[in-house]
């Protein structure tokens, strides 16, 4: 049943979405993620799905809201400025407890920025991004395989929690082609969708909303959402350790930066430096407990990000008090090379 494929990250992601049963894609063109909508515009017809090139990212995310309210698996993809426009909708999705999968092929900013790969949207993705007290699950793939696998997972987690899930990747992960093993999709066991709108036939009318005006209602709703985020922390935290045994220094890095860090670590090991990697796969919930446990025996950490310092705050909050956390930022332009990171880690080793 397993099949080896050679394909680019964005296609691996889109194939994963269709495999997960996503039949509704709404999106607006923006570089560098256009091969995702282009792929869906071709493929959705073949699976009797629906592709709409919306008039804006604002409209895309709200079309998702509608399709999701109808019980369908729906997704959109965009890149940073587009995500800014979607924040209103994401807040409504979270407030209305609707599942959705939103892909951010992170480009550089602020403003129009540039099309080069960046991890500058870490805060936006992990802190909710829109108004109000909410979180989105954030998955950070680091390979073409994960672009595919985490997309399948994203749809399941979105349904499990009735919450938007963000896949935070970048142009490198979207454009690289590599080997991927295509396995059959085994969905999580999910609760029945007993909340969807389809017309009040043989039942009381249902309502999808995020407005709570009655006494105490809003507060209760916020604590209910909070409990959901706590449950995510208990049940759906993911990370990867790489060569972390007997390490003197742990690099904490995600996505493309983590890939480059792996090569830098290999170079370091070849020179006899004991360096390992801790790679968060879920950025929210952040793997704080696993990182804390690691910091009981390793006391030196170097956070490497393709920004000027965002995840490093979560790293600092997670590790034991007596652990040192250093930061190396590779601001956007071209992604860092392994040799650059090797030099950076030597400075703090």
């Amino acid at each position: 049943m397993e099949k080896r494929l050679f394909l680019r990250g964005n296609h691996a992601l889109a194939i994963g979405a269709i495999k997960a049963g996503c039949r509704f894609y709404f999106g607006y063109p923006i570089t560098p993620q256009n091969d995702i909508p282009e792929f869906f515009s071709k493929q959705m017809v073949k699976v009797e799905g629906c592709f709409i090139q919306a008039e804006s990212e604002v409209a895309s995310i709200n079309m998702i809201l509608g399709a999701s309210a109808a019980g369908a698996r729906a997704m959109t993809s965009s890149s940073s400025p587009g995500l800014s426009l979607m924040q209103e909708g994401l807040s409504y999705l979270a407030g209305s407890e609707l599942p959705a999968v939103v892909v951010n092929i992170n480009r550089s900013g602020p403003g129009l920025g540039g099309i080069s790969a960046s991890q500058g949207d870490y805060f936006q993705a992990t802190r909710g991004g829109g108004h109000g007290d909410y979180r989105t699950l954030v998955l950070a793939p680091s390979s073409v395989q994960e672009m595919h696998d985490l997309t399948l997972l994203a749809f399941d987690l979105a349904d499990k929690y009735r919450n938007p899930v963000i896949i935070l990747a970048d142009a490198v992960l979207g454009q690289i082609q590599e080997t991927m093993v295509d396995r059959p999709y085994q969905p999580l066991e999910l609760p029945p969708k007993d909340w969807i709108l389809a017309g009040a036939s043989g039942r009381d009318p249902r309502l999808i909303k995020s407005l709570y005006l009655k006494e105490g209602e809003m507060e209760r709703h916020n604590w209910k959402l909070f409990e959901k985020y706590q449950r995510m922390k208990r049940e759906d935290v993911r990370h990867e350790n790489y060569l972390e045994e007997e390490a003197e220094l742990i690099i904490v890095s995600f996505g493309t930066a983590a890939r480059v860090a792996k090569s830098a670590i290999r170079l370091a090991r070849a020179e006899g430096l004991k360096v390992g990697l801790f790679r968060p796969i879920t950025l929210f919930p952040f793997p704080e407990k696993a990182l804390f446990d690691l910091s009981q025996r390793v006391k030196r950490f170097l956070t490497i990000e393709m920004n000027t310092g965002q995840m490093v705050e979560d790293v600092k909050l997670s590790v034991a008090r007596d652990a040192d956390v250093h930061f190396y930022g590779h601001a956007p332009g071209s992604p860092p090379a392994p040799e650059e990171l090797l030099n950076a880690l030597k400075k703090v080793y």
């Binding site: 080896r4 050679f6 454009q175 590599e178 890939r259 792996k262 090379a337 040799e339």
Partner: protein, 184 residues
């Protein structure tokens, strides 16, 4: 085995095609491989670079600063990547466009291939890229020449399949040239 290759030239020379061809061949040989295209802002005429990493183990960075091998198809590319090749590494020059005398480094294995002239003997200038990749594979053996030729049908859309024999012939020509060359 862990082999990093950067291929660089200008848009329209078919850099991306030979990059994905090599990657596809590595894939067909059950190796791990990443292929990273890097386009200039404009699709044609600007820089066209790509990186291919082929390995029998897990591949770390798809981004490479200092590759073991470099394929250089234009003068600006030589300036950009020539200095970055690892000491002892392999530099393949398309000498139809790049003068080998411009290479100052003495610590590299260099092969110059007049790809355009060879392609012209096959009656199609546009086959230069295939001549180059044929020579590269002959020299490095990162994959077999047979697999490389077999990969052609995977990366060309079906309506271009009538061009496969000509491309395969160009690969053979390039390989033949490499076999018969003296290295600097």
């Amino acid at each position: 085995m862990y082999h990093e290759i950067i291929m660089s030239g200008v848009g329209g020379q078919g850099i991306m095609v030979i990059g994905s061809l090599l990657a596809q061949a590595a894939f067909m040989e059950n190796l791990n491989v990443t292929y990273t295209p890097i386009y200039g802002v404009e699709k044609r005429g600007g820089h066209a670079d790509c990186t291919v990493v082929i390995s029998s183990e897990e591949i770390g960075s798809p981004i490479v600063d200092s590759p073991q091998s470099c394929i250089i198809m234009s003068r600006p590319s030589l300036g950009k990547y020539g200095p970055r090749v690892k000491p002892g590494g392999f530099l393949l020059l398309n000498s139809s466009f790049v003068d080998p005398l411009e290479v100052r480094r003495k610590d590299l294995d260099i092969l110059s291939v007049p790809a355009l002239e060879i392609a012209q003997t096959l009656g199609n200038d546009r086959l230069s890229n295939m001549v180059i990749i044929g020579a590269f594979v002959e020299k490095t053996r990162v994959v077999s020449l047979d697999t490389l030729a077999a990969a052609l049908s995977q990366i060309f859309e079906e309506h271009y399949h009538h061009l496969l024999p000509a491309n395969a012939a160009a690969i053979s020509k390039g390989a033949e040239y490499a076999r018969n060359s003296f290295h600097q």
